[in-house]
């Protein structure tokens, strides 16, 4: 069984997911992880699919979506093994401020320079307000206050407020 990454992007309508998954199920292709949202009204879906079919076969199966103003891509991917997360720490980082170019670059550049890895990200523009919410893992322990102070300083350079919350998980 090989893995492929499928992306479906374009004009939203009811039933896109139902159509794509019905086509994949017919091909005996299994939808593993996937994430879909609307980005400024555009349907945007990324899927990792396990199948014995070839990339060309799956692409041909999904070609009918093109007549629907949807752009589909199918690419082979390797099976990424999840590494243990080390002794580190995780945070939810929230950013908001007046929209301008370079906010995401400034904040994520700083995060990367401290060794942080973004594992989940949403950026949204509404009216003039720009909002970024990121989940970030650090392989080594990171102090929440130190991170807050550093990111707020970076945030000031691009005119945004930054809040940092520990992403605690409690096993019950």
């Amino acid at each position: 069984m090989a893995l492929m990454a499928i992306t479906v992007l374009g004009h939203d309508r009811p039933g896109i997911i139902a159509d794509v998954t019905a086509t994949l199920a017919q091909r005996d292709a299994n939808v593993e992880d996937s994430s879909m949202t609307l980005l400024r009204g555009h349907f945007a879906w990324t899927l990792i699919v396990g199948t014995d079919a070839s990339v060309d076969q799956v692409a041909a199966d999904l070609a009918f979506l093109a007549s629907d103003d949807l752009v589909v891509s199918v690419l082979p991917v390797t099976d990424e093994q999840q590494e243990p997360d080390g002794p580190g720490s995780s945070f939810v980082i929230s950013v908001h401020g007046a929209d301008r170019v370079g906010i995401v670059a400034a904040i994520t550049g700083a995060i990367a320079s401290y060794g942080g890895n973004v594992t989940d990200l949403q950026t949204r523009l509404g009216g003039g307000l720009y909002v970024v919410v990121a989940e970030v893992d650090f392989a080594e322990p990171m102090d929440a206050e130190v991170l807050t102070t550093r990111l707020r300083a970076v945030g000031q350079t691009v005119g945004v407020d930054v809040a940092v919350q520990p992403a605690d998980q409690d096993v019950l």
Partner: protein, 178 residues
Amino acid sequence: MTPLQVELPDGVVREVVTAPAAVLSEPCLPVDPADPDVVRLAADLLATMDVSPGCVGLAANQVGVPWRVFCLDVSAHPKTRTCHGRFVMVNPQILQASRNEKAREGCMSVPDFTGDVKRASRLVVTGQLPGTGEHVTLTTDAFEARAVQHEVDHLDGLLFIDRVVSAAAIHKRKVYLD
């Protein structure tokens, strides 16, 4: 306050079942707290909780038994305020729940995921003690309130996955190395 700790035999560690086991998705049955099998189950739940790292509570159906019994011990958890120690409750029923707070929780029966779940941070729960069958009502808050609701949800056939606050609220569980 009635002490919740009762004399129980030594328990045996049982295997914790994981989703998608059917027993986790069905409501559990009320039982007689004086039934020797219930007393044994109570002891076994505590024994199983004790050997499971980080485990603060266990519902009977998590060891495959569809009875309304859970054990709890949040005394070592940093988010605990009110704490009733290490105890077992039979036939629990939540009487009052208020002041919802959101937090990310995981579960031994759903080992690969965590989820953001709103739970009441003030709670009144009633139930019986194993063996004696004594009726007890406890008022609690913060992490103990969350843990009780998580366990009672198990007994109602619900997992935290059934209660996540949004489509983006399921996360890969992080496994930290010490």
